[in-house]
């Protein structure tokens, strides 16, 4: 074995160790990288348009027996939306394997550009399964929804990562600000939905 190869092995093991250490110490310190609060929201009675071009009443989409997770993204977004949407895909996958159900609702903050076609392609790119809807609408309606969730973003370039989970039992919402790991997201979800055994 040449020296350089040995170096590489050592390097690899070293970084793997560093990687585990950093993550485990973080978990031990209980330092969540996101902020959590429980809120009540008054959802406006408006209709938005989904990725299939169909008008949907927001209330009938959100007010059901199934827990709902809402986020705000847009089709051509850099940086944050990919991370939020990766969180959605993984949550959907995890809930699928562990049993239970969820309704995922992404609401655009770029209603001018996000046509049903753009939204459909976005969902396809992320391999969304049925149960994840992407909504657009008039700018006035989108502004109303953002304000109702205390998430008004005057300009899309200033938006921030937010997931909001609705608890169907008491109509409360868990507001999660920041970027979660899949495990944290799943735990937050289960805290609302209860653990399913199916």
């Amino acid at each position: 074995m040449k020296i350089s190869e040995l170096n590489q092995i050592i390097c690899c093991i070293f970084f793997a160790a560093v990687f585990m250490f950093l993550n485990s110490s973080e978990a031990l310190a209980e330092s969540r990288s996101y902020k959590r609060s429980v809120e009540k929201y008054n959802i406006p009675d408006i209709s938005l348009v989904n990725q299939n071009g169909k008008k949907v009443r927001l209330r009938s989409l959100l007010y059901g027996e199934t827990p709902v997770v809402v986020d705000f993204i847009y089709g051509t977004c850099t940086t944050i939306c990919p991370v939020l949407s990766a969180g959605f895909v993984n949550l959907q996958r995890n809930i699928d394997t562990k049993g239970g159900s969820v309704r995922l609702v992404s609401i655009t903050i770029d209603p001018e550009n996000d046509t049903p076609k753009v939204m459909k392609e976005y969902l396809k790119r992320f391999r969304a399964k049925p149960g994840w809807d992407f909504l657009t609408g008039s700018r006035a309606d989108i502004d109303t929804v953002m304000k109702a969730f205390n998430a008004y973003i005057p300009d899309k370039m200033q938006h921030y990562p937010l997931n909001i989970i609705r608890n169907p039992k008491d109509n409360s919402w868990v507001r999660l600000f920041g970027i979660m790991s899949s495990k944290e997201f799943m735990e937050e979800f289960q805290a609302v939905a209860g653990k399913h055994k199916k």
Binding site: F15, F19, T79, I80, P82, G87, N90, S181
Partner: protein, 564 residues
């Protein structure tokens, strides 16, 4: 804990063959192979094997890179982005192999609203080398072991794939683009020979003013420097000499490309500012695309409508956007069963064809069943016999009449042949000021496409130092070419912002990236301009309006600015 990260660790160990070659150029790949494969990884997230690159966020959130790739965050030129309070740093070899200090970011501190820190970035680091860079991509640590935040994914790549990607990063935005230097920007504008002297002036005046003002500011700034003023980094790049060439295009459009190539070879420019033609813009569009020259907001009714083109910014899709507006409005108006009662009539002209293609593309995009479309000559439309015959042989409730104002005297008769809804859609741009001739009695049946502002705009008409007067549009504005006001909007807001923000990164691709990350703009002619990576038609709206009564009728909106 170890279990949690097991999938990640295993994938890294598997992807890192113990006997792999060090990070040197692959013997079996040519430079151009490496660039092509690297670009495919960087832009599309596709490995040389054709598989998607695996990526992990926060250790356990696995995503494949079909959804997003390096360029989603670091942008095409690799100089990073700033969005949502997250600084995405540059990822070009030039920047990585040098020590780096990040600009401050919202994510660095809790902001005034008490928002939580979620994406604090590494503040300062020494230079990378190829080995530490590979570790950064695999494990998310910089050369001195500082861990990246949760936004930057970790990429467990094989050594070979890693080598290719790193070689691509080294090449990315390496050589400054032609037409720019630390002291000068060279621009051109393009004018075709069908353009009238007045239109030419309307375009060149604001452009010339812009150049004069930039050079005047530079002189002033140099005076300040002489008196000992120490500029901020930002200021240093805001003041640069600017020059403008006029690229006149003559003769048949098939010869434009050669002419453009000659101009560009003689004196290359950094970007093309504005431009004007009454003919189809495609030859210029294609030239800019293949030469990778940014082209900002030419005045044209016939832009290229494409999802994938990169280098030309347009205000909107021209006539196609009006056709699209009609399609979106009609989409909400009629059920699928009724599409048989819709008829599209297309005059044999380039304008009408553009309107029809805008309608048809949008209609198809909304997955509606196709509608019947017929083509008529101007002569056939003027005497109305042909159209009447067609209308009597079928049940038509909605007519899309993409025809010029010569057809207006026939409208009443045409309308009488319609059944049910009795609606006719026409284009305000195509009719022009003559739309005022639409007789009062049929106005309630006529819907017009109107791709400009309706709500009063409070602000300078020309973007210069004029009084602030509200601007309300009227039929007199139909068919108005708005050359000066739109060119001013392009210059003062869009181009200037972009040019100032590229600092000393004189890459055309970076300029396009910076332009795409702008905040929304309010301008005189459109309700709103909005940007975003890959978005190239910045005004997305088109009202459907009706005319009120009288000689100078009110324009009554029947739709939103953007119809969903």
């Amino acid at each position: 804990m170890i279990i949690k990260y097991l999938p990640f660790l295993i994938s890294i160990l598997l992807a890192t063959p113990l006997y792999s070659a060090p990070l040197t150029p692959d013997e079996d790949l040519s430079q151009s192979d490496i660039m092509r494969l690297g670009e495919q990884m960087y832009r599309n997230g596709v490995l040389p094997s054709g598989e998607y690159m695996p990526a992990y966020i926060r250790g356990d959130t696995e995503v494949d890179s079909g959804a997003f790739s390096c360029s989603s965050c670091h942008l095409r030129a690799g100089l990073g982005s700033y969005e949502g309070g997250v600084v995405t740093p540059p990822t070009t070899g030039r920047k990585l192999y040098e020590p780096y200090r990040r600009p401050p970011s919202l994510g660095d501190t809790v902001d005034q609203t008490g928002r939580y820190i979620y994406a604090k970035t590494v503040q300062e680091r020494p230079s990378y080398n190829r080995t530490t860079l590979a570790s950064a991509l695999r494990f998310g640590v910089d050369p001195v072991g500082q861990k990246f935040n949760d936004v930057m994914p970790r990429y467990p790549l094989s050594d070979r794939d890693m080598t290719i990607l790193i070689r691509y990063l080294e090449f990315l935005s390496h050589e400054p683009s032609p037409g720019a230097s630390s002291s000068e920007f060279r621009f051109a504008t393009i004018i075709t020979d069908d353009v009238s002297p007045e239109e030419r002036k309307a375009l060149l005046n604001p452009l010339q003013n812009f150049m004069d003002r930039k050079n005047q500011q530079l002189a002033l700034y140099n005076d300040y420097i002489k008196f000992g003023y120490i500029p901020t980094a930002e200021m240093k790049y805001a003041f640069r000499k600017a020059s403008l060439d006029i690229w006149d295009l003559k003769g048949d459009p098939s010869t434009w490309r050669k002419q453009l190539e000659n101009y560009n070879a003689a004196k290359p420019v950094f970007a093309i500012l504005g431009g004007i033609s009454n003919q189809n813009w495609k030859p210029v569009h294609d030239f800019c695309e293949s030469e990778r020259i940014p082209s900002l907001f030419p005045i044209t009714d016939f832009p290229v409508v494409s999802d994938t083109s990169w280098y030309t910014y347009y205000f909107n899709k021209g006539y196609a956007q009006e056709g699209e507006g009609a399609a979106k409005y009609l989409n909400r108006l009629i059920e699928d069963a009724d599409t048989k009662t819709v008829l599209q009539v297309v005059q044999d002209s380039e304008v009408a064809r553009a309107l029809a293609s805008g309608f048809e593309n949008s209609w198809k995009e909304m997955e509606r069943s196709p509608i019947k479309s017929i083509k008529l000559t101007a002569g056939e439309l003027a005497d109305n016999k042909t159209l009447n015959k067609i209308l009597s042989s079928r049940r038509t409730s909605v007519l899309l009449l993409w025809a010029d104002a010569e057809t207006l005297p026939q409208l009443k008769k045409t309308l009488s042949r319609l059944k049910g809804r009795k609606i006719i859609f026409m284009s305000s741009g195509y009719l022009g000021k003559k739309a005022a001739d639409i007789s009062d009695e049929v106005r309630k049946n006529i819907y017009l496409t109107w791709p400009y502002r309706l709500t009063p705009y409070i602000g300078p008409q020309t973007g210069q130092f004029d009084a602030r007067v509200p601007i309300v549009t009227s039929v007199k504005d139909f068919g108005e070419s708005r050359i000066t006001s739109r060119t001013v909007a392009m210059l003062l807001q869009a181009a200037l912002q972009g040019l100032n923000k590229i600092y000393d990164n004189l890459y055309r691709d970076h300029f396009m990236d910076v332009m795409s990350m702008q905040m929304d703009l309010t301008v005189r002619d459109y309700e709103r301009l909005s940007f975003g990576p890959g978005q190239r038609y910045v005004s997305k709206g088109c009202y459907i309006i009706q005319l009120g009564h009288g000689k100078n009728p009110e324009l009554i909106p029947r739709s939103e600015w953007v119809i969903q």
